[in-house]
């Protein structure tokens, strides 16, 4: 029964899946306009899971601090919009550009400093980085310190704001997906997997491992920065600890979604993000204050009993069909 279902899923060509999902995504905010912001959050989650998986899944480097690039994007875009004095859309475009560049550059810097560190030292170093950034932002007056930043008002008609940001977020998620899909197929993608499988051997084969890791982190930072700039505008308000550098929500969710879907795969994080976001929105409201306890329990349960994720489970179930000799 399950195998039949998996066979059928596998039989769908990827282009048909992409076109179908794309059409649904384009039409969705018109069919259910009240859910536009919710659906935009879904695309944000997809970006989170995919960008986490670049290091976590493809490179085997588990980062707990990727949310720092999201936060940098939030603030970079907001500061440009506040101080540039340009018309709304020009300022937004310039802000997004600045957000992407700043996130990319900071990833290159942090990567050069931290990506020589391996294993749990790296994981905990990134955890420290993310929280230190949130605490620093909460004390820096120029960006509003602990009281946060309010974003400029959207100039369009009522209801057009949600649609606009939905499509921008969708475009970022799509661009992220196709960029990663392309990268995973190149020599660079193979080099990333080689580092995950055996870093010493990869280095002995002449790969510049630290450079590859840093560039990979910068790519994921680029999309996180863009998503941060848009998300700040979409939410209308940036709080240093609860929105921008929110390690306890976004920072944990991105890890959880990627693992749930299956880390180290292209579709796994997308699938994980969709499933997690939908279940979260359906059940969270019924948990009445116990959401975060449930989140913690969910992490423990998934990590202990389901560490390979949905894609990993499907692959293990159909080893022969996936091309693994049994």
């Amino acid at each position: 029964m399950i195998d039949m279902f998996l066979d059928r899923v596998r039989a769908v060509p990827e282009w048909a899946l992409l076109v179908g999902l794309g059409l649904i995504a384009l039409a969705a905010p018109f069919v259910v306009p009240s859910l536009a912001t919710q659906l935009a959050m879904l695309w944000l989650m997809v970006v989170f899971a995919q960008t986490w998986d670049v290091l976590g899944g493809q490179l085997g480097y588990n980062s707990f601090g990727n949310v720092i690039f999201f936060g940098i994007g939030c603030y970079a875009c907001a500061v440009v919009q506040r101080d540039s004095g340009l018309p709304y859309y020009d300022a937004l475009a310039l802000g997004l550009l600045f957000a992407a560049v700043l996130a990319l550059v900071s990833a290159l810097l942090f990567g050069a400093a931290l990506l020589g560190i391996r294993g749990h030292y790296f994981a905990i170093a990134t955890l420290g980085l993310g929280i230190a950034a949130g605490e620093l932002a909460a004390g820096w007056d120029y960006i509003g310190a602990g009281s946060g930043l309010a974003m400029p008002l959207f100039p369009g008609a009522l209801g057009s704001r949600e649609l606009f940001f939905y499509y921008v977020m969708f475009a970022i998620a799509g661009a992220c997906f196709f960029t990663l899909r392309w990268i995973y197929g190149t020599r660079f993608g193979l080099a990333m997997n080689a580092i995950r499988d055996d870093e010493d051997k990869a280095e002995a084969m002449g790969l510049h491992t630290t450079a590859i890791k840093t560039v990979a982190w910068a790519i994921s930072a680029l999309f996180l920065g863009l998503a941060g700039g848009v998300a700040g505008n979409m939410l209308g308000f940036i709080d240093p600890r609860d929105v921008a550098f929110s390690g306890a929500t976004f920072g944990v969710w991105m890890v959880l979604m990627a693992i749930l879907g299956g880390k180290g795969t292209l579709w796994g994080p997308v699938l994980g993000a969709v499933i997690f976001h939908i279940t979260k929105e359906f059940f969270w409201t019924y948990l009445l204050g116990w959401q975060r306890v449930a989140l913690g329990l969910l992490i423990v349960v998934i990590v202990l009993y389901f560490p390979q994720g949905i894609m990993g489970w499907a692959r293990a179930r159909q080893q022969a069909r996936a091309g693994v000799a049994t």
């Binding site: 020589g116 560190i117 202990l304």
Partner: protein, 300 residues
Amino acid sequence: MTDNLILLLQNPSFALDVVLNGLLAGAIFALAAYGMSLVWGVLNIVNIVQGELVVLGGYITFVTIGAGVPALVALPLSALVMFGVGFALYYTVIFRVIDKDLFISILATFGLSIVIQQLMNTVFGSDVRSIDTGLGSFYMLDGAVTVAWIKIVACALALVSGLALWTFLRYARLGQAIRATAQNPRAAHILGIDTSRVYAITYGLNGALCGAAGSLAVMAWTIHPYIGLPYTVRSFMIVVVAGLGNVGGVVAAGLSLGALENVAGFVFGAEYQIAFVFALMVLILVWRNWRAARRRTYLA
């Protein structure tokens, strides 16, 4: 910022006050760090839930003292309860992650830390809690240096616990079994040591150390549900600097961290103290890795 630094440099007695209070706080960090060092060395797990165990120990003391138990009884009681908590955590979650890769153990203990943190927030509320032990303060240099007696007591108790732990690990049969398991679990198992029981006791012992640390923290300082992670990071940092299985190093590193943190908190402002702790950890790791890279190795 520079004003504060100048103030500190021009008033030696005031500087002494800041450093001394920091040193005494450092003893509590060292106590939690012994536990982390033990779990890391024996179970090969970086225990992210460490700080939450400290805070939970603090809440247990807060509740028991609130119910009229004297402070001298509340401290061992908290350690005992936390030994049980650690034991229970081992048999529910930790034993499953021992032979898995490091990432699984980090994420699983991270998940546990969220669970405990949020449970504490639900049960005890998010207010900052503290207990006044009524021991008064100790004055030096015409009142320029003020140290609460409870902080001195806390520091002494932390050092005594450290010494007791060291003696236990070195001379007691069970302590020797723990060290044997840390060195080579397979060989220890063959020689008749029940390694899974040793793991459980080690984790319970870690819980007891955290419980004692938390108990001292609530008496000498303050606790709230979200202060756990800084304790975890401090313990991690102390163990990284001191090295595994080095009790003396843990004490030295813990005291220095406490002093450094208090001075930094004064110079940069108290709102940056947590940022300082986390940034310092990142810097220490980067520096250690840079040193290792010069020997053509890496931190892993």
